[in-house]
Symmetry: C2
Subunit: 378 residues, 2 copies
């Protein structure tokens, strides 16, 4: 059960009244805090759209509505808040959108903080071809057997094919939505939405009751990129939302991959341009994806290793990441990436392995801290 | 008619007795000259394979045989010798092969020196799919209408499809063969070979009568790369001769391009790996190829420009290439590329345009020299 203290209530109101990914919103919250921001909007005299909506919004109704829809609301500082999302606080905007979300609405048994460091976005065209759906099925099957969680939107085409392939492989899959989680969008994917919500996880940046808009889709794409360590675009037309997700993944230093296809297929044009222009690496099979996600040799063998491994056995690259961490206090993933000179996905992979080895851990704020190895030999 | 002086006879003998692309051959000829090399091989005491063959080879028979097959023999210094081939003299080897050919056997109405600065290699798998053949047809049609000459080998599959598409488009196409030009290899492409020989051009580094070998194919691939300004690989298996041609094109600083295809097609695997590993740029249509071949804006509009254009109208990049040329004397393409810091294809494109503008020309040795513009204004 979510504890609805003042801070959480204020943030929930903001997800109800402000367009997601609005840079002004992120700046107000960063400078003044959520409570002061809502108070200011409710003060008489402000006649902006946000102010009008703030005055109209009843927090108790919102909390009740969330409860009915079985939603929880995750905010920075929560155990479930994924530290890698903080990369959004420091990065550039795309098309006027950006910034840290004020909170994440979520429903389902999976934890956001837990899946995110080992997850891959599989996205693509709504008007996917049978070829695209077949490739999606193959790649997702491989990713699931490597232990990755699949992340996608809720659309027809590649998004739905990715979720269905993950479910068929017995894996974990997360839907990130542009609208409120009280109803499915599009309606034709209702059963899929309900299955993800009941068995896996659905996530949104906006409050229940908020409807989708074009800019909400673009803001949502930044969440898909930020919540994963890499994005695979399976099919995309020349103009495609999937290319926007790829742009976000590039902005955030994530691995960006695209699948080639027949040059006569308009649904592969966007992928080919991403590859041609150096915005994505070509991946033709799951081995290619593995190579992009685990350049430090972090892979499916992870689970077989115990927490008592000695530093002597740890790969030199992992040790280098560990040595870049401060002796006292925490460090963010992005700061560590800068310090090590590696891209964020590589650092996240290394941190995931170091965590399994019992050598690092995340504190309450999501920062990474050194742990002493449990073996007495070190 | 070829003038069979002593130098040309000696070089012809060498193409008869030495494996093509043998680095030792290129070094001997560069250090001692062809005449002294043949003399040394014929001297008693040398029992090497080359020496035995040298003693057995009757130059008059060779010249007669070439005449019967209507072959000419082009050597460095000839007007028909393509200056860009000299790049092979200064570049690294691949799999123990390399070096400048001692001469080129040729038959057909096209001139080697004339087609090479504006030609594109289109190569690929023998076991091409219908997809690969369809893509070849499309791309070649576009290249021909841009005025490029197509270059390929003589094999089944993509090679034959490239030649046939060029012929169907009314364009020019050149076959570069691994064996002697007195007979077609493979025999199944006899009619294509005869058509190229009669109407276009066939080229080989080895004398008539010399049979193909595996290393001859690899040596031939370096000629295809060197004789063109860019190579397009349409389909290639994971292990493929076309990938070898792409490696040569990279070695020589040419544009290297590969066409994507369905990830389930083994005939696209080689292309995908070239792209994935950064050895080739993805090209999905002829516009993509144009962008790779003409980064200085040299394109199909060339023919519309007159030789009297003023320097004021010349693009800054072209002027920069012109300004890098010595006031007196000539300069090779590769030296100019180094001086300008641009890849060779880009320099060749610029030189082609400067030549049309009447601002540069090639001398007898193939070196590039400045010309005064014909307009009095400059």
């Amino acid at each position: 059960m979510t504890e609805w203290d003042q801070e959480r209530r204020a943030r929930a109101v903001l997800t109800c009244i402000c367009e997601p990914g609005h840079l002004k919103l992120a700046r107000l919250v960063a400078s003044h805090g959520a409570v002061a921001t809502v108070d200011a909007l409710r003060r008489n005299g402000d006649e902006s759209a946000w102010a009008r909506r703030a005055k109209m919004t009843d927090e108790d109704v919102l909390v009740q509505r969330a409860g009915q829809a079985q939603l929880r609301f995750v905010i920075p500082g929560d155990t479930e808040w994924p530290v890698q999302l903080d990369d959004l606080a420091h990065r550039a905007e795309i098309q006027g959108l950006g910034g840290l979300p004020v909170g994440l609405w979520a429903a389902g048994p999976l934890s956001v903080a837990e899946f995110a460091p080992r997850s891959v976005a599989v996205v693509g065209a709504r008007a996917a071809t049978r070829y695209g759906e077949a490739v999606t099925s193959d790649l997702v099957g491989g990713l699931i057997s490597d232990g990755y969680t699949v992340v996608s939107g809720g659309a027809y085409g590649i998004d739905a094919a990715a979720h269905r392939a993950a479910l068929a492989s017995g894996g974990r899959t997360v839907g990130v939505y542009a609208g409120g989680l009280d109803e499915a969008y599009p309606r034709g994917n209702l059963r899929l939405f309900e299955e993800l919500k009941a068995e896996h996880l659905v996530v949104s940046e906006v409050a229940p009751g908020v409807r989708v808009s074009r800019s909400a889709f673009l803001a949502r794409n930044r969440l898909i990129a930020a919540l994963t360590i890499g994005t695979v675009v399976v099919e995309a037309a020349a103009r495609s939302g999937a290319r926007n997700t790829a742009s976000w993944a590039n902005e955030l230093g994530r691995a960006v991959m695209a699948v080639p296809g027949p040059v006569f297929s308009g649904m592969s044009t966007g992928c080919h341009r991403l590859i041609r222009d150096g915005q994505a690496t070509l991946v033709a099979d799951v081995d290619d994806i593995r190579a992009q996600l685990a350049p430090l040799g972090v892979g499916p063998l992870l689970a077989e290793r115990g927490p008592d491994r000695l530093l002597d056995d740890v790969e030199p690259e992992l040790l280098a990441v560990r040595e870049a961490m401060p002796a006292r206090g925490g460090i963010s993933t992005s700061d560590l990436a800068v310090k090590c000179g590696h891209p964020v996905p590589r650092i996240l992979g290394a941190l995931a392995e170091l965590e399994v080895l019992g050598l690092v851990g995340q504190d309450q704020t999501g920062a990474w801290r050194l742990k002493r190895p449990t073996s007495a030999v070190v």
